[in-house]
């Protein structure tokens, strides 16, 4: 499972993010991108020495400042299920498609090779 797919699946779910400077943020994930930049809503910020707290409506965190993030264990199961479903759907679709494309390609190549190749040999003889 890719870390970014876990993060994407965590949208709308609560999570805890610790930054490299030791501060941590508890809130609901709103959005994320491939740099792991994230926005959280209804956030409790904790200072690095964990003796001060702030309540924030919404925060944006640059991905490169994150040390780690913690998500609910149930998320793992839902992502695994989702991936299994996607694999099964992909297999039944791609199976037919792959066969079809292969056949076409084979025929086209055959025709091209057969045409000029045969003529060339004929003239030479």
């Amino acid at each position: 499972m890719l870390p970014l797919s876990l993060l994407k699946a965590a949208q709308g779910k609560p999570m805890m993010v610790e930054l490299k400077n030791g501060e941590s943020f508890n809130g609901h994930l709103i959005d994320c991108d491939t740099f792991m930049n994230i926005t959280l809503r209804e956030v409790y910020q904790t200072s690095a020495d964990s003796d001060r707290f702030w309540k924030l409506k919404e925060v944006y965190i640059r991905g490169s400042t994150i040390k780690y993030l913690q998500v609910q264990p149930a998320l793992l199961d839902s992502v695994k299920e989702e991936q299994q479903r996607a694999r099964e759907a992909g297999r039944s679709n791609a199976g037919g498609q792959r066969g079809g494309r292969g056949m076409n390609r084979g025929n086209a190549r055959g025709r091209v090779r057969g045409g000029p190749g045969a003529r060339g040999r004929g003239r030479g003889g």
């Binding site: 870390p3 876990l6 993060l7 913690q70 793992l76």
Partner: protein, 91 residues
């Protein structure tokens, strides 16, 4: 995959968990995480942390954990200095 690994972070934290996923940047997903805190005053203390996603640039090392040896060790009896955070060239 799906084996228990030990991960040391650049801030000196030691975390053990089941390797669930990773990517090109060596960001790593661990499930059933346990942090092991060492101290000189008392034995090592384990804390359960759930599912962690650690950013690759914060990782010092990852290695497969020998669960047999780990379970057989009385970590609560072992006193050790906690690992310091990574330091850059002090000349």
């Amino acid at each position: 995959m799906e084996k228990r690994v030990l991960l040391v972070m650049q801030d000196g934290r030691v975390v053990m968990g089941i390797l669930v996923g990773w990517d090109q940047k060596s960001n790593i997903i661990l499930s059933e995480c346990i942090e092991r805190r060492f101290s000189l005053e008392s034995g090592a203390v384990d804390t359960s942390l759930g599912v962690y996603m650690v950013k690759g640039d914060q990782i010092c090392l990852v290695g497969e954990l020998d669960t047999g040896v780990d379970d057989a060790t009385q970590w609560s009896e072992i006193r050790a200095e906690p690992l310091p955070a990574l330091r850059y060239g002090e000349t």
